[in-house]
């Protein structure tokens, strides 16, 4: 693999891992709101 391909892969994977992990972790750890309406 070329350096450019590795860079593109690693940067994209890092972004995807970061946001997938960040948002899913927040989903797991944030309790649902009490929404008595």
């Amino acid at each position: 693999m070329t350096t450019a391909a590795w860079t593109m892969l690693l940067v994209t994977w890092a972004v995807v891992f970061f946001f997938t992990g960040k948002f899913f972790w927040k989903v797991l750890t944030t309790p649902p709101r009490d929404d008595a309406e």
Binding site: M1, M8, L9, T12, V16, T20, F23, F24, P32, D35
Partner: protein, 546 residues
């Protein structure tokens, strides 16, 4: 509707939403699209489209869904009706019924192939019979006939439909949510195992391997900035984002309608969307192309993915390549088709729920009966796909319902949300109860950029010229020779360009054009029937209010 029906847990909702988005396209279409559109050149427009069109559209659909749910509407017609005072708004929602019903018909058929392939991988069929021989026989394809009623394919199709109907009849929390909680983790595990095994293949060390799989990975990831100047790469990338997120179908709206009005949608939507990207970009990009490249070489892979579909590689080539993996071959085959099956079923369930919700909400049909009605309707339409598969009915279903219809609904909803519902109310709806801070810039993006983006995709699909040669097409138009529509463009398809328009050949046999036209008539009838059902439901409502 079943009063009080709701999601059992927030994780269940997000996994169900992600399962809705993750489909066979993540593993078969994405790598093929990337391969056909210059590899790394494709990924930059793809990621930009995700941020400017995908994520905003997810928020719009979740917002429309949760808003509609507050009024007891869990399907698109009722939800759109509540977005404004115009009476025609509810008819936009017909697309949200029609698309789900018609896509489910052919999608369940593909899903049933994956189930059959799991079985055949486990019993070692592909060790004795090449998949290239097995598959046409399985589908009942003969050179001299457009019709087929293959018994085995039919059996697996019925089994798949029955499974879908059963899960749907159990409801949201006990059916769809459990399926997502089982299916999504298994899909991730299967994908990770296959990717690690596939990327570890070495020429010389592993039998049959001629190239490093990293060559395939290099092809997908090597950046080529010239792609940014090519409108066709942008159209392909935006199109892929569209299909991979399952936007424009009405299924996201439906799932979101069971979220309570003050509960978060911003974080849930972002989480489900990014999870889909993880499966597509990380897993989808690491399986088909690298493994196939290792055994066949890059040139053969590019040839096999011509047309932007990886179905040939996925169903014909990969089962053979797994034979080189010794004792692991049946397990690898079962894992590959198993992950495709889980990707498929979590999506097909999402197609069933909106149709059922419409029957439950607007016609007071109990859940079990609405599940059976959905199963029966899917069977009838699916039968057409099975029966006329060799004649091309399947492609017609895929194009008009799984491609064109989605873009129409998404285009309409992006304008309705921003300009009829109003951006102020829309923004309030998206951010109410949000567990993340939605960047203010998305207010501008949703109002101007996303509708414009979809409009460009729509016009591109409508007018795509032969070979994607836009400058050549404009020259042709200016010089009075007319617009050279590609046979795959919407208008090209309607006009049957690129072939002779004859229903019967000289021997009196029906042609593919006949099958295509009959399929279009069938789809039009289904659309009109959905429209009638919406009209009738509102008539009933009016009468009961009087």
């Amino acid at each position: 509707m079943a009063k009080g029906e709701s999601w059992g847990s927030r994780v269940g909702l997000v996994l169900a939403m992600a399962g809705n988005a993750v489909g066979l396209g993540n593993f078969l279409r994405f790598p093929a699209q990337a391969a056909q559109n210059g590899g790394g050149a494709f990924l930059i427009p793809y990621l930009i489209s995700f941020l400017l069109m995908g994520i905003p559209l997810l928020w719009v659909e979740w917002a429309i869904g949760r808003h509609g749910g507050q009024f007891g509407h869990h399907s698109a017609p009722g939800m759109f009706d509540r977005l404004g005072k115009k009476r025609w708004l509810k008819y936009l929602g017909v697309f949200g019924l029609f698309t789900n019903l018609a896509v489910a018909a052919y999608y369940c058929y593909i899903e049933s192939w994956t189930l059959a392939y799991v079985w055949h991988s486990l019993i070692g069929t592909f060790k004795e019979t090449p998949a290239t021989e097995f598959f046409p026989r399985y589908l009942g394809q003969h050179e001299d006939s457009f019709f087929a009623l293959p018994p085995e394919a039919f059996f697996w199709f019925i089994l798949t439909l029955a499974l879908n109907t059963f899960i749907l009849s159990r409801g949201l929390a006990k059916g769809i949510e459990i399926a997502a909680k089982i299916g999504m983790p298994l899909l991730l595990i299967f994908g990770a195992v296959l990717a690690i095994r596939g990327l570890g293949l070495e020429p010389g060390a592993d039998p049959g391997v001629t190239q490093s799989p990293l060559e395939g990975l290099n092809f997908v990831w090597n950046p080529d900035l010239s792609g940014l100047r090519n409108p066709n790469t942008w159209l392909a990338a935006a199109g892929q984002i569209f299909f991979t997120l399952s936007v424009g179908m009405g299924s996201i709206h439906c799932y979101a309608s069971y979220v309570r009005s003050k509960q978060d949608i911003a974080l849930n939507a972002a989480s489900a969307g990014w999870m889909n990207e993880f499966v597509e970009v990380v897993l989808g990009g690491s399986l088909l192309i690298p493994i196939a490249t290792a055994y066949l070489g890059l040139a053969a892979v590019q040839e096999a993915t011509a047309g932007g579909s990886g179905f040939g590689l996925g169903f014909l080539t990969l089962p053979m390549l797994f034979n080189n993996w010794g004792w692991f071959a049946p397990i690898a085959g079962a894992m590959w088709f198993g992950l495709l099956f889980f990707a498929g079923i979590t999506s097909s369930l999402a197609m069933g729920q909106p149709v059922m919700a419409f029957l439950e909400d607007e016609y007071r049909v109990p859940r079990n009966r609405s599940a059976i009605l959905f199963g029966a309707a899917t069977f009838i339409l699916g039968f057409w796909c099975v029966w006329l598969y060799p004649g091309g009915s399947f492609d017609e279903f895929d194009f008009w319902t799984g491609t064109f219809s989605l873009v129409v609904l998404a285009l309409a909803e992006s304008f309705v949300f921003a300009y009829i519902f109003g951006m102020d109310r829309g923004w309030e709806e998206i951010t109410r109860g949000a567990d993340i801070k939605v960047p203010e810039i998305f207010r501008f993006v949703i109002k101007y950029i996303t509708p414009g983006f979809i409009l460009v995709v729509f016009v591109g699909a409508l007018l795509n010229p032969v070979g994607g040669d836009w400058p050549g097409a404009f020259s042709s138009l200016v010089s009075g020779q007319g617009w050279p529509f590609d046979p795959g463009s919407v208008i090209g398809r309607v006009l049957h360009t690129g072939g002779e328009y004859e229903w019967f050949d000289e021997t009196g046999r029906g042609t593919r054009v006949l099958v295509q036209d009959l399929t279009r008539i069938l789809l039009l009838v289904v659309f009109l029937l959905c429209t009638f059902l919406v009209w009738k439901a509102w008539q009933n409502k009016k009468r009961s209010q009087a």
